[in-house]
Amino acid sequence: MSSETLYDKVWDLHQVAKLPDGSTQLFVGLHLIHEVTSPQAFAALHDKGLKVICPERTIATVDHIVPTINQERPFADPLAEEMLATLERNCKKHNIKLHNLGSGNQGIVHVIAPELGLTQPGMTVACGDSHTSTHGAFGTIAFGIGTSQVRDVLASQCIAMNKLKVRKLFFKGSLSKGVHAKDLILHVIRKLGVKAGVGYAYEFCGPTIEQFSMEERMTICNMAIEGGARCGYINPDEVTFSYLKGCAYSPKDESWGKAIKWWQSLASNQNAVFDDEIQFNAEHISPTITWGITPGQGIGINEQIPTPESLDEDDRAIAEEAYRYMALEPGKKIQNLPIDVCFIGSCTNGRLSDLEAAAAIAKGRQVAEGIKAFVVPGSEKVARDAQAKGLDKVFIRAGFEWREPGCSMCLAMNPDRLDGNQISASSSNRNFKGRQGSPNGRTLLMSPAMVAAAAITGKITDVREFLK
């Protein structure tokens, strides 16, 4: 059993009670809601005649269904309009702060909470969205919950939960040029598989991680869930503190110094005990890309699509399904595979540094003939900051579309979708069948820089070619 890890400390601090079934009633420090998984929770609350117990600990935004071209209300899609209107009504009725469209703070829930300084070390963070693991980058216990649990948190600010085991993932060495945080996490999931993290929290640590910016750390923790781990976290340090300094909801004045003291005490102790430990060498990681229908089906850009014989027996059936669905042949190279659509955005890679990395590739070049390429900033703030740096112009000149913030084609609940069996090069996090809006659409996951490179050449390309 783990002890003295950040996970243990934050868990202990938030235990409200032991429940009769042996589970723990855990206090939720920050509850984030959005339009997709909250309406049924509010309805259930209403049916039971319950109130929101701590409205000030719940923060709302709208992200999944927002159109990225024309955001004028009412939306063209009446279902989307109804969802936002319902969220607006619920927030108003229950006194919940909503960062709505045009407020300057709207965006993907996992992008706005960190940038507003809502997410702080030592908190427990819950949201009806599996990528809540993102917030672990700040040294929180952050996890996705279902709608029934959203209802529970609204009603009690608590959740019934069992403690997870803790696995330490230690990284040494620096990433080489052209290799990004996204490649690192795709590499981890490829090596450990999509089920390895079930029952675990992942602590990402070591020199590689310490060198990472907060945005890179968020990319890593974001995809912990794709490796099966409901939450992933990184110990808070100077990088964390300087990110948080001056954010809208960050501690101010004399609280700031005290906050840092406390935050520093949260990191896993030198002699912390983990349930499991795995080491990686970041220097061995190359630009990584998925070829199949689970985030674990990844390969280095210079590798071939694996043959069934080269795979563990356990992985063969899903590989066979992937060859068929993706219309890809085992043993063939992934490089130079022609693509149709390029998507840069999502809570994995829709932050300023992601857009900068992509713009560096796009600058002075042109999107290949016939390719649809578009950039969707993760939030209104990301859009503003990118525009201030002229990135929108770089993209537009290169032939990308510059859109309004939201989840967009990460899951295609809005009008941005693949058509037929189009292949997309995508900076998002899931390549499941049909994920990007077409039942036979195909998704290849990669870093934003790799997506930009693919947009320029019209095919899967080693981004390092552009850096020579």
């Binding site: 601090l13 938030h14 409200v16 009670a17 009769p20 079934d21 009633q25 420090g29 997709v36 998984t37 049924q40 309805a43 117990i53 701590c54 999944h64 109804e82 969802m83 702080q120 030592g122 908190m123 969205d129 599996s130 996705g144 919950i145 279902g146 709608t147 029934s148 649990q149 209802r151 529970d152 009603a155 009690s156 600010q157 608590c158 959740i159 019934a160 999509v194 089920k195 079930v198 029952g199 099966g228 409901r230 501690p251 609280s255 005290k258 906050a259 406390w262 689970t294 356990d314 899903i318 399904e321 899951l411 295609a412 609940m413 899931r430 069948k433 049909g434 809006g437 039942p439 036979n440």
Partner: protein, 206 residues
């Protein structure tokens, strides 16, 4: 039809019904309920939309469309069922189609919790047993099976298999406390004093 049998309520100690087999590892929630159907403010219509894209692709031969499977209430799956997003729409869609229990080799964590929260027991067993169970079911899909949660058994006339479920889930289901809200609220009388002890809620002064 199972579709018409009432939604889970109160203690759940056994489920009786016909079975439906869905083969494959890593069946994710995007497949169980594609994202476009999440554009709704209620779960009501999800039952017809479960596995919409897979079913369309198979043009009537998907297990959820086969005539012989209509009315089935126990779903047999393989490994890592329900991986991916946290959408409760997935178990809701299954439940509204008529599923009342799932037996599989393993389940994704959030999906498992979501099932429990709406009263759908998920029991596990090793792959060889899943295969044996599937073989037995295939012999006659008309037969009714009994899933006994207390005893963790799955049986029909002279056939019986032992399954697993963790004690916590078992207690919750059989006591009827799988709907956690009231329990949580009853412990909230001292929430304010609990909160004041959290550094980030007291200006880091304690």
């Amino acid at each position: 039809m199972a579709k018409n049998s009432p939604f889970p309520k109160g203690p759940i100690s056994q489920i009786q019904g016909r079975c439906l087999i869905l083969t494959g590892d890593d069946i994710d929630t995007d497949r169980i309920i594609p994202a476009r159907f999440l554009r709704c403010v209620s779960f009501k219509l999800l039952g017809d939309q479960v596995f919409a894209d897979d079913r369309k692709e198979l043009k009537g031969s998907h297990p959820f469309d086969l005539k012989s499977n209509q009315g089935a209430s126990i779903l047999i799956v393989n490994k890592n069922f329900g991986c991916g997003s946290s959408r409760e729409h997935a178990p809701q869609a299954l439940m509204r189609w008529g599923i009342r229990a799932i037996i599989g080799q393993s389940f994704a964590e959030i999906f498992y919790g979501n099932c429990l929260a709406i009263g759908i027991p998920c029991l596990t067993t090793e792959s060889s047993k899943i295969n044996a169970i599937a073989e037995e079911i295939k012999k006659t899909t008309e037969e009714c099976w009994l899933l006994n949660i207390n005893k963790k058994t799955f049986s029909r006339s002279n056939k019986k298999w032992q399954l697993s479920i963790d004690q916590r889930s078992l207690d919750m289901l059989t006591s009827g406390r799988w709907d956690a809200t009231s329990q949580l609220i009853s412990n909230c009388s001292n929430l304010k004093s609990f909160m004041i002890n959290l550094p980030y809620l007291n200006n880091f002064s304690k």
